[in-house]
């Protein structure tokens, strides 16, 4: 009897020990995102999208790598939207949590230093939202899912030439904002290259705190451009557009992704309806996989996913694709991380919900941007995607 009990006990213990070993092995991916600080909404959107993806894959038994199924383990760490915290968070994820790849940081302020850590430690990093070229520059381990600041210029040029039938243009930009100034200059170069020298009829600037644009607009309107390119923040757009209308301008405007705030319409009102701007993705009027994603996200979290959520979804799926391409998980961290990098480099083309993309030598996606039109109800509706030539 006593023996039997002992035997049963041993079997029990053996079984208890065996259970974890028998469960599917896991793949750890770290998320370096701002859950507190200035932009907590960005971190929240990233986490929401990632949780939805994890539930999908783990619900289906896990991710298949080299003929074996692995469960996903996502570790979310808060970088407080600070550059120095992004560095410590990256180190924590890489050394303590032993992640195989990192998603984030999101904004360039954190992604540029965070990318340095990932690159130095030999861990694949994909930033969903960062648009600053420095994030991936000369860092073979670092990738991103968003297009670059210098890419939007060509998007605006190509779209406007095609859709507005534009032969001439004018630019009004914010002199003290590097984003706006850089984009304006790129736009001017490309437009003149495409349409001939001198076709940018006016190239005018203003200050960040300016409220009156009548002098610049009078100058622009007197040159009669086919459209005005305004790579400005949404709060200035809301002043510029109505003022141009009050100076008798009836033509088109073209904007950039800095227009894409839901606050644009509460500030600008009717004057901005019908205008176009380029952005990462359009929630209203989306089709196919993008629409499925939006509907599911809405059902789960009760709000329309913004561009960060969609880009995080894509960034995470790109990493998973890289892991699958890598062949098999050996359990040796250094070897596995290297395999992921190899797998990432093998991605020839990736069908994301923010568009198809492939990576160039710098780890930047070559992908189409979306041009949206502001509808009569104030929604940002998909017009067309514009691809780099």
């Amino acid at each position: 009897m006593k023996r039997l009990l002992t035997a049963a006990l041993i079997t029990c213990i053996a079984m208890m020990l065996a259970v974890p070993a028998m469960a599917a092995p896991t793949i750890k991916i770290g998320f370096n995102i701002p859950l507190t600080g200035d932009i907590p909404k960005v971190g929240e959107a990233s986490k929401n999208a990632a949780e939805m993806l994890k539930a999908d894959i783990n619900g289906a038994g896990g991710l298949e790598v080299g003929g074996k199924k692995y469960l996903l383990d996502f570790i979310y760490e808060d970088n407080e939207a600070k550059a120095e915290s992004a560095v410590t968070t990256a180190l924590k994820l890489i050394t303590r949590d032993e992640i195989i790849a990192m998603i984030g940081p999101n904004s360039s302020k954190q992604a540029v230093p965070g990318g340095q850590v990932a690159n130095d430690n030999g861990v694949v990093m994909v930033s969903p939202w960062s648009t600053n070229p420095a994030t991936t520059e000369d860092r073979p381990w670092v990738f991103r899912a968003a297009f670059l600041d210098p890419f939007q210029g060509p998007v605006a040029v190509n779209f406007a030439v095609k859709t507005f039938n534009a032969k001439t243009s004018a630019v009004l930009y914010d002199l003290s904002n590097d984003y706006s100034k850089g984009l304006a200059e790129i736009f001017k170069d490309l437009f003149e290259k495409k349409m001939g020298a001198g076709t940018v009829l006016a190239f005018e600037s203003h200050g960040t705190k300016d409220q009156d644009f009548s002098a610049q607009l009078t100058k622009i309107i007197s040159k009669k451009p086919d459209f005005i390119f305004v790579p400005d923040n949404y709060n200035q757009v809301a002043l510029i557009v109505p003022q141009a209308r009050q100076l008798g301008y009836k033509g088109e405007f073209m904007g950039s992704d800095s227009w894409g705030s839901s606050e644009l319409m509460t500030l600008c009102g009717d004057a901005c309806k019908g205008l176009h701007f380029s952005t990462h993705y359009a929630a209203a009027g989306a089709t196919g996989a993008t629409k499925v994603f939006i509907d599911r996200y809405k059902a789960k979290y009760g709000e329309t996913p913004d561009d960060v959520a969609a880009l995080t979804w894509d960034a995470t799926r790109v990493v998973l694709q890289g892991i699958q391409n890598g062949g098999k998980i050996t359990g040796k961290l250094k070897k596995d991380r290297k395999a992921v990098l190899k797998g990432m480099k093998q991605i020839a083309s990736f069908a994301g919900i923010t568009g198809n993309m492939r990576f160039d030598d710098q780890g930047d996606p070559i992908k189409c941007a979306v041009v949206v039109q502001i509808s009569q109800t104030g929604k940002f509706e998909f017009r067309q995607s514009v691809c780099p030539e």
Binding site: L175, F203, E204, S205, H206, G207, K209, Q211, D212, S214, A215, Q216, T218, K219, S222, N235, A238, L239, P242, R245, Q246, L247, G248, E263, T266, L267, G269
Partner: protein, 303 residues
């Protein structure tokens, strides 16, 4: 070319009107107290917010038509904003004056009052901007290629009327005479039976009231409000008042239009990148040529 010049002059008149309206407030207070009321730009900001709350309340809660709201909004905004100005004078400037503090300390107090107004607004209402509701239908007129709106014309006419009114108050009424007397000799005036404090309160009522009117018109013309909107325009209006000769009503009025014209015309004829550089070089040149400003007379009666 002629069309473009006229167009730019209309733009400059509108933009200069705001400088002039705010500069008048600086100059009134300076004329009476020799105090640079650096909170004045933020009083203008408060005026714009008061106009915002009064008009949204009348439009949405009571549901009055736009023009009625505007007609009610003008006096209400002016009264409420002048109360803000008078409150500042009562709790910040008067105690220092009674204690005989040096003018420098009062100026620093004024700067702090401005910051308090800005940050109180930020703390109470948050950093997000407010959109001012359209009160009147804006019509765009085109006469021979020169384009203007009814709002623009209204702003310019209002600025001129306010100037004429203040000029009349200061030179023709008993209160105005008392103001001039105070600026002439602050110590002898109470001995003549002129109530010093009351005259100072009237000065602040006038200055802040018209800053409130400027805030309302500004919010109608540039319908996005944020807590820092008064800071830069306030500084520039102060410069306008100095260039015109601070302490002189005509100086503030002309200085405001001069600054507006310089800013607009520089953009019209030079690359806009150089706007502030050229505009302020011109103003510096004027001050070097006439350090007391266009209408200023060194150390004599002001206002």
């Amino acid at each position: 070319m002629l069309v473009s010049i006229i167009q730019n002059i209309i733009n400059a008149l509108q933009w200069g009107s705001f400088y002039a309206l705010i500069a008048l407030g600086y100059t009134l207070v300076y004329g009476v107290l020799t105090l640079i009321n650096f909170a004045h730009g933020d009083v203008f900001m408060v005026g714009a917010y008061i106009a915002f709350f009064v008009s949204t309340f009348l439009l949405t809660t009571i549901g009055l038509p736009g023009w009625v709201v505007l007609a009610l909004c003008i006096p209400l905004t002016m009264i409420l904003t002048s109360m803000v100005g008078v409150t500042l004078e009562r709790i910040a400037y008067r105690p220092l004056r009674k204690k005989g503090a040096h003018r420098l300390y009062v100026v620093i107090t004024a700067l702090m009052c401005g910051l308090i107004l800005e940050n109180a607004n930020l703390a109470l209402l948050g950093a997000s901007r407010k959109a001012f509701p359209p009160l009147i239908e804006v019509y765009v007129y085109n006469i021979g290629g020169v384009i203007f709106t009814n709002l623009k014309i209204a702003v310019i006419i209002t600025a001129i009327l306010v100037f004429l009114f203040l000029q009349w108050v200061v030179t023709k009424t008993r209160v105005g005479m008392a103001m001039q007397a105070i600026s002439y000799d602050k110590f002898a005036v109470p001995l003549m039976g002129i109530p010093l404090d009351q005259i100072i309160v009237v000065t602040f009522v006038l200055g802040s009231g018209f800053a409130g009117l400027a805030g309302l018109l500004f919010a109608m013309s540039y319908p996005i409000l944020d807590p820092y909107m008064g800071a830069l325009i306030g500084w520039k209006a102060f410069i306008a008042a100095v260039v015109g000769g601070i302490g002189d009503i005509r100086g503030a009025f002309l200085g405001g239009f001069l600054l507006g014209a310089v800013e607009i015309l520089v953009v019209a004829f030079f690359p806009s990148t150089y706007r502030d550089l050229i505009a302020f070089t011109v103003l510096l040149a004027i001050l070097t040529w006439k350090p007391t400003g266009l209408f200023g007379i060194a150390q004599t009666t002001k206002i």
